[in-house]
Symmetry: C2
Subunit: 361 residues, 2 copies
């Protein structure tokens, strides 16, 4: 039962050979949690599962791709990796580079990012440089540098990232079955592309007999694919999907169309509601972007989408929860109420709990 | 390969029957990471492994015990659980109670705890009450309430917690072998007791042929077992082990003596150094208390402890890393340096990285 990480477990599907040095923090094999209470909340119209990707080593799904990207970089003799990132990518790159004994450089736009978002990259020893410019300029620099210098790009433009990320689709098939629908947040749109690649590869290998319909959800203030235009100033509290011009835009559209699915948008209010439901109903704490998947499913359910789609049985829906709630503690703190003060007497506490003397054992 | 959580996987060793409703977030089966660079750092005197318990669902080892405690509470018809806790216990209790559809009450001492430490309990819907008193008074209240009212105590006094926690020892044996030494932080001392119970049960069942020596480490400012006296005002930045009068004090001493191990103390400086080494050398981010295990191993290595203990081969040491670094983001932020500002030019970035024109591809 010892899980060896995604490369060793799925090596026949990945661009590795016996000579590839494997850099792993034992990412993958994340929980698939049956969400009975949420299924009931959705009037029993779906059989809902949660794929809890926040339990990857650095707290997000990025680790699946980073194990491949860093292992391949090491195989190619690379001594340093670089990315422009404000959050989960830099955390993952820094951790895997540390494990590989490689230098990791992270470029961020000046002044735009709170130190808390960078704490992981910094603690793992990455060299974080704040560039006098915006995020696009940082990304342009990263591309130029990696073209000219022997430093490997580990932004999502690196195709090994997608290769690793597709293993999550394999796990869902191995652990459960092919779901009827898969729901997930869409930001840069690399991950929906990766899952679809995974399902297709399993299908072509004969490991599964059908394919899921892919449901992607963008935040309303950052929904370029839904609105079919670049969003110059994307806005959403779901920072991990605050992207106005997705790198994998066309591939995400192809995924949507080939699978017979859809890409829709959900408001920050809907995301926050789903964020609370996951924590209070199922005990699963996610970063806000992750909750877009459930928010989308709730939105569709209200339109009878799943009832119409059902063919004699309740459809299975897997929601991808991309990151752990501990990634964004400020959001949690803003969401909750201060504890109430009570005197240190049994009766006072019992009254607050809503019990009284008559409830005694 | 679908992991069903610790109760289903280890049910023959746990106080459950076919009738026990199983409340799980798929805790357990956490990574065991071979730490080659740290082994080298320790002059090759040990073969070091890291058991990354921070990858349990709520980010700490507490989930292993909580799945058992909450499942048993539900089986017994209990509608509510209560604990006095300032951190990991309350997060875990709240998450599992949410999954079970039970009420969870958390008592905290007034004014002593930052909201960030309570964010998880609150987001999972626990009723958190600040008691006008100190932690001991909160704990006394919890005990009185659970004696008089039909509410289940889920502090570590609940024996089902220890039962669940022992499964981590099973996993180490199943995944690797019996280590020669196991190193871990010691606070309330329940966990060292739980691991020892696990190893002993496997030994008596004939699943393993020898037992590890148990090495426990307290923080210097909170080392009652080492100093053989209650510490009235324990002080350490490793908050998860800031305990002056451990509940399982005698059992921890028995574990130490029966296993032929030791319980020692490490300074906050040593803990912080180990905390950074784990992140920078192995890509593993832990909460400070977790680093006490590695700090202790480093301290012992300096005294030639492992060389003396070696009998013809390099001994295997497993360090238990009890919680994820994301549990204590403030500590990480205090530890790291602000990113350096650079102009948005390739040459400027390349110079900062320590490269120049001659390094071009």
């Amino acid at each position: 039962m010892l899980w060896p990480g995604v490369i060793r477990h799925y090596k026949e599907f990945l661009p590795v050979t016996g000579k590839t040095p494997i850099i792993t923090l034992k990412e993958g094999n994340t929980p698939l949690i049956q969400a009975e209470k949420l299924s009931n909340y959705l009037d029993g119209t779906v059989n809902l599962y949660l794929k809890y990707e926040g339990l990857n080593p650095t707290g997000s799904f990025k680790d699946r791709g980073m194990t491949v990207a860093i292992s391949k970089a090491l195989e190619e003799g690379c001594k340093a990796v670089i990315c422009a990132s404000t959050g989960n990518t830099s955390a993952s790159a820094a951790a895997y580079a540390a494990q590989a004994g490689m230098k990791c450089v992270v470029l961020i736009p000046q002044g735009a990012i709170a130190l808390g978002k960078l704490a992981q990259a910094l603690i793992h020893g990455a060299q974080v440089l704040a560039v006098k410019g915006n995020f696009d300029q940082a990304l342009t620099l990263v591309r130029e540098i990696t073209e000219k210098y022997p430093i490997t790009l580990v932004n999502s433009l690196n195709p090994n990232r997608i290769e690793g990320q597709k293993t999550a689709a394999f796990e869902i098939c191995d652990h459960l079955e092919v779901p009827d629908f898969q729901a997930m947040p869409v930001g840069n749109a690399g991950n929906i592309t990766a899952y679809w690649k995974g399902y297709q590869e399993y299908f072509h290998k004969g490991k599964i007999r059908n394919l899921p319909k892919m449901l992607g959800f963008q935040a309303s203030g950052a929904a370029p694919i839904v609105e079919e235009k670049i969003i110059e100033n994307p806005e959403t509290m779901a920072t991990a999907i605050r992207i106005g011009n997705p790198a994998s835009w066309r591939k995400a559209e192809a995924t949507r169309d080939e699978s017979g699915g859809l890409i829709d948008k959900v408001t920050d209010e809907e995301i926050l509601e789903a964020y609370k439901l996951l924590a209070e109903f199922e005990g699963v704490f996610v970063e806000p972007a992750s909750a877009a998947s459930l928010a989308g499913v709730i939105k569709l359910q209200k339109t009878q989408f799943f009832r119409r789609a059902a063919s004699g049985r309740v459809p299975t829906v897997v929601c991808i929860l991309t990151g752990h709630g501990l990634k964004d503690p400020d959001r949690a703190i803003q969401t909750v109420k201060e504890p109430k003060l009570v005197s240190a007497r049994v009766e006072a506490v019992i009254e607050e709990i809503g019990m009284s003397n008559k409830d005694k054992r």
